[in-house]
């Protein structure tokens, strides 16, 4: 496959190594981390207003976390050897910690927290449902049907501790991805101590946005009124988190322009040409400045409910596009220029290939399918459970 090259690239650099799947992976783990942080807002920081999204946020995090390793597996030259990361992890490699951080976060944090949160419902459903579903719930109870007041208190306390542990765990789950890029001294587009921080904040932005969108969407689908106090609060957190994220990215940009080191001319040219649409148009204008402006308006001006809903939805979608574009610009952008600073290559994305667009789209849709299944098994909405009224906290 002939790849058009402008200028000079080292012969082995011409073909990109990390594809759209590697763009997708940090996007997905970012959503996981962000959704979890939103959930922890209620659980730990007692922001009561966002309680309606608590369970949905946890399930969203789980749905995306299940899909997270899939783009990596598809990308590996030898996916059948991926378990080697568990056998002989190389302690100097940030990537080696993936397997353990992932497993820890999945099993030690998310699954435990969801189990503790849903235990009362699981026990009730194990007794009330029929057929194969009953078996599922019976297994989920782990054989314990104790839902006494004291047991519930213990669950609450332990769940709180898990969330406390979960916050730095979520930071680690996504922060290490930023470090994977940020610690590569060979690549000046990636190498910056700001990288893990920028990744984290953009993760929180995307996670908050996706839960907000999902909440509004599911309320529409279920024909229940949207809790505006909840959504207004989420939008406020989205706005301020986004502001911090934008500031960090601008600091990086201004710093690069000011210092103007060896790589700058080459990178600057790349941003103005090859990366113009995805960086200037999609990431900055459409994906950051516009949603920030829209959210700012809602924070400053008193607007009617319908207008706010529309703005939140629109800003949320733009945010998701912007954060995806950010991952694209980091991963793909970092491979479009030559390390000789003398040339540029092109990313040839296949369609029905192992690392092509089709698998990327499929993996983007899959979490929502999984979420749909999870919502069916563990309904987040208290009104639909037999014990909806007696649910803790309300």
């Amino acid at each position: 496959m002939h790849v058009p090259v402008e200028g000079f690239m080292y012969p082995n650099e011409i073909e990109l190594q990390w594809s759209v799947l590697i763009v997708l992976y940090p996007f997905i783990t970012g959503l996981v981390a962000g959704a979890f942080i939103l959930a922890s807002l209620e659980r730990v920081f007692r922001v009561e207003a966002v309680k309606p999204t608590y369970r949905l946020a946890l399930l969203t995090a789980l749905a995306f976390l299940i899909v997270a390793p899939m783009p990596l597996q598809l990308h590996l030259g030898r996916p059948e050897r991926s378990f080697e990361m568990y056998l002989t992890p190389h302690r100097t490699s940030a990537m080696a910690m993936f397997g353990f951080v992932y497993l820890w976060y999945l099993l030690g944090v998310l699954v435990v927290e969801i189990w503790l949160e849903y235990r009362r419902d699981i026990v009730a459903l194990a007794q009330s449902s029929t057929g194969p579903k009953q078996w599922l719930y019976k297994v989920l109870t782990l054989g314990s049907y104790n839902v006494s007041e004291r047991a519930m208190q213990i669950d609450d306390k332990v769940g709180w501790i898990i969330t406390i542990i979960g916050i730095p765990s979520a930071f680690l789950l996504h922060g290490y991805v930023g470090f994977i890029f940020g610690s590569v001294k060979a690549n000046p587009w990636w190498s910056t101590p700001l990288m893990p921080v920028v990744f984290l904040f953009s993760a929180m932005v995307s996670g908050i946005a996706v839960v907000m969108l999902l909440y509004m969407l599911t309320c529409r689908l279920r024909r229940t009124p949207i809790d505006m106090r909840c959504v207004d609060t989420i939008a406020m957190y989205l706005f301020y988190t986004f502001l911090i994220d934008f500031t960090l990215e601008m600091v990086d940009l201004i710093h690069r322009i000011y210092e103007s080191d060896e790589s700058f001319r080459s990178l600057d040219f790349m941003v103005h040409t090859k990366l113009y649409f995805s960086q200037i148009v999609l990431q900055i204008l459409v994906g950051t400045v516009t949603p920030l402006a829209l959210l700012a308006i809602t924070q400053l001006v008193r607007l009617p409910e319908l207008t706010r809903k529309r703005i939140y939805s629109f800003a949320g979608v733009l945010t998701m596009i912007g954060i995806f574009a950010m991952r694209w610009n980091v991963v793909i952008g970092g491979q479009l220029f030559s390390k000789s600073f003398l040339g540029y290559t092109t990313y040839k994305m296949g369609f029905v290939t192992r690392e092509g667009l089709l698998p990327a789209i499929a993996l983007s849709i899959l979490p929502f399918i999984i979420l749909w299944v999870l919502v069916k098994i563990l309904p987040p909405w208290h009104e639909e459970t037999a014990l909806g009224q007696a649910a803790h906290g309300d």
Partner: protein, 243 residues
């Protein structure tokens, strides 16, 4: 490449031992090789390189390198009007079949062969998540293609662009300094086939190595010294424009 009679006889003795091990065929037969007595690198003399591409062809034949990928390659630099900061560089098919004549006349022109620098403090081995790329006790950076996952992190981490993913094995690959040759007392395929002696294997630990004298009396540099990878491929005559 000049050789004293004594050196020639020494090499013959080593070649005889190497011959035995070739006949024997198993690594155990070559166990007389003690890795801790060696510390390998390479010397590349820019003033001698004629850009014939013999090294690139030889490496491909010796190591089964797939087309379109390069364990070693040659770049040609053209510097117009002393513009050291903006050279024009080309490397048609890695220089494998030589170089067509330049369209621009004048200026400063020269060839730069490149390969893995077998860095003593390599970022590639640092980032490998499983230990599929490593340093041998004699200073060669190798890839264990039976263990490599093909995650390509090492390829990203190499500042010199010397690594690639082999499309047949789907594992990372790069120059192995012809480890299967040098541990038998032979030199690398590229050095063996370089007609001008522009490429020379160096054993920094061997006091009888003829290159030591050159290194002591000439100024040598490594590529991208600011990367601090402790690169072990020394260049003589390296122009400031070389990237």
């Amino acid at each position: 490449m000049s050789m004293t009679r004594r050196h020639f006889l020494l090499l013959t003795a080593v070649a005889a031992a190497a011959w035995d091990s070739i006949i024997a065929g198993t690594p155990e037969a070559a166990s007389s090789y003690n890795a801790s007595n060696h510390w390998y690198g390479m010397l590349i003399n820019i003033e001698e390189c004629i850009g014939c591409g013999s090294c690139v062809r030889a490496c491909q034949l010796e190591n089964n390198v797939p087309d379109g990928f390069y364990r070693t390659w040659v770049e040609r630099y053209h510097i117009e009007d002393w513009q050291v900061e903006s050279p024009t560089v080309d490397s048609p098919d890695g220089g494998k079949n030589g170089f067509p004549e330049l369209k621009e006349t004048g200026g400063k022109n020269f060839f730069v062969p490149k390969l893995c620098n077998h860095c003593a403090d390599s970022p590639c081995t640092q980032v490998c998540p499983v230990g599929a790329t490593f340093h041998t006790p004699d200073g060669v950076v190798l890839v264990d293609s039976k263990y490599c996952l093909g995650c390509r992190y090492c390829i990203q981490a190499c500042p010199y662009g010397c690594r690639f993913l082999n499309p047949t094995t789907n594992t990372a690959e790069k120059c192995s300094l012809c480890y299967h040759r040098i541990t038998k007392g032979l030199t690398t395929a590229c050095c063996e086939n370089c007609p001008t002696g522009a490429r020379q294997l160096v054993d920094f630990k061997n006091p009888k190595d003829p290159i030591h004298e050159f290194l002591k009396t000439h100024s040598v540099q490594v590529l991208k010294p600011y990367m601090a990878t402790k690169a072990k491929v020394d260049y003589y005559g390296l122009d400031g424009s070389v990237r």
